[in-house]
């Protein structure tokens, strides 16, 4: 276990959003001028060089190529290579997020306005898919708690509900009945407020590619990957527990919590081991994906086999 606890994030380890945004704009312009290849390496290194924050793992990072080519994003098809192939058509700028439900600041927010007051930092997290493979991903993003606090949830807000964009014209997979669209995920509010829970806008110091859930996605590193909903268009504060898409698709195989747990097998396959992408032998899967120190308290007294 290489997680260091309780360290403060230093100023130079995070990048002010306005600086980040300038880079975004610059890259867009540069791409237009065909300069991306020449400038990309110069623009981004301060991200790449920024030291991992206290929550980050020191484990070897999964190559960018693998993270961006081996994806589950059924909105673009059920094959692992489909998202990379078909996500190009998704327009992520402009982008807005509808905030509704049990909070004071409901409304439709432009993504840029939503991000303006925030600092983007790097978090290197383990990522474990329910299918039995894992990666180590250097995300760029901000703690979801910061966004939640700004929305001033009411006392009734016990859960946070997330919804992916629904637009079959841009997301060809939504023309099929693979899942009940739009994709839905949810967290208990204390899970959402946990400092590990991240809203990601980039990885490897670059803006998220569409196949990885651009422009805004959730990252919950102690839960199976499908909880980390992509391309978020709606956030709702709720009193009742939402039913997430995979639970709806198969109640007996997928639950609301979906915490990584080697003791609780998927009904059809074992969760005791995982293949870290790029490695030959399998690794033993850890409880809460190795984040037990930070999150086990959220589930004290709960039967994790029942609440899978």
């Amino acid at each position: 276990m290489l997680i260091k606890k309780g360290k403060f994030i230093k100023d130079h380890q995070v990048t002010d959003y306005s600086v980040y945004q300038n880079r975004r704009d610059f890259i867009k312009t540069a791409t237009g001028l065909g300069l991306a290849a020449a400038t990309g390496g110069i623009i981004q290194p301060s991200f790449a060089l920024s030291k991992p924050t206290g929550f980050s793992t020191q484990e070897a990072k999964t190559p960018y190529k693998d993270i961006t080519s081996y994806c589950n994003f059924y909105e673009f098809g059920t094959g692992k290579a489909d998202p990379k192939k078909y996500a190009k058509n998704l327009t992520t700028s402009p982008w807005s997020v509808l905030i509704e439900g049990e909070c004071e600041k409901t409304g439709r927010y432009d993504l840029d306005d939503l991000l303006k007051p925030l600092s983007i930092e790097e978090r290197i997290y383990r990522f474990r898919c329910v299918e039995g493979w894992s990666m180590v991903i250097p995300w760029m993003g901000f703690p979801l708690a910061q966004l939640i606090k700004r929305m001033k949830p009411t006392a009734k807000a016990k859960y946070v509900y997330f919804e992916t964009l629904y637009d079959p014209k841009q997301m060809r997979g939504q023309k099929t009945k693979a899942l009940d669209w739009p994709y839905i995920e949810g967290l208990r509010i204390d899970e959402a407020m946990n400092p590990l829970t991240l809203m990601a806008t980039g990885l490897y110091g670059k803006d998220l590619l569409n196949q990885n859930g651009a422009p805004l996605r959730l990252v919950v590193p102690w839960k199976y990957g499908f909880k980390s909903i992509k391309s978020i268009a709606k956030i709702r504060f709720m009193e009742k527990q939402p039913v997430n898409s995979w639970q709806k698709a198969n109640m007996t195989e997928y639950g609301f919590y979906s915490n990584v747990n080697p003791q609780v097998n998927h009904p059809r396959w074992s969760q005791r081991k995982e293949r870290r992408i790029g490695e030959f032998r399998k690794r033993k899967t850890k409880l809460f994906n190795g984040y037990a120190e930070q999150v086990a308290g959220l589930y004290s007294g709960m039967d994790l086999k029942k609440n899978f």
């Binding site: 693998d66 080519s69 081996y70 299918e131 698709a249 059809r268 396959w269 074992s270 399998k282």
Partner: protein, 190 residues
Amino acid sequence: MIKPFVFLLLLLPALLLAGAFWNQTLGANPLEAVIRNLGDWALRLLLLTLALSPLRRLTHWGQLLRLRRMVGLFAYFYAVLHLMGYLWFDQFFDWGEIGYDILERPFITIGMLCIVLLTPLALTSTNAMMRRMGKQWKRLHFLVYPIAIFAIVHFFWMVKLDVSEPTLYAIILAVLLGERLLRFVLKNKR
């Protein structure tokens, strides 16, 4: 004349797979890709074996039936490689874990059953065995029908959500079995 050519043709998927593995073009999870690809070919060739006799009736091309044994043996060859892939790349010969899988995971159980049932068919595929077994041979090799059904069930139970691929194979098998059933019914009517 045609046999060596078909032999090489049937070996080609294995060669291409080995080449793709060597050149690292199998994506981020190459070991899983190898296991899946070998399973795909085992199933495809099993269905091709079953397609040869109706195809011969359709085309009146007698040569086809002489290829059936070779295609069937290649199906077994890919099935064994598929099993080896699972034992090695998926379980790394952890026999306790493999035993648990066979007992607890229906898709593994039925996959193993396929291999177990295919083995006597492969072993009795020689001319000498055909002669020695006489009528028993036909009875034994009738097993290929339940094996094909089990192999497709194995595929269905393995898939996470999208069953379009196993459904396609199921339709092909349904046509092949349906044709035989129809002929059987028509023959008994007369």
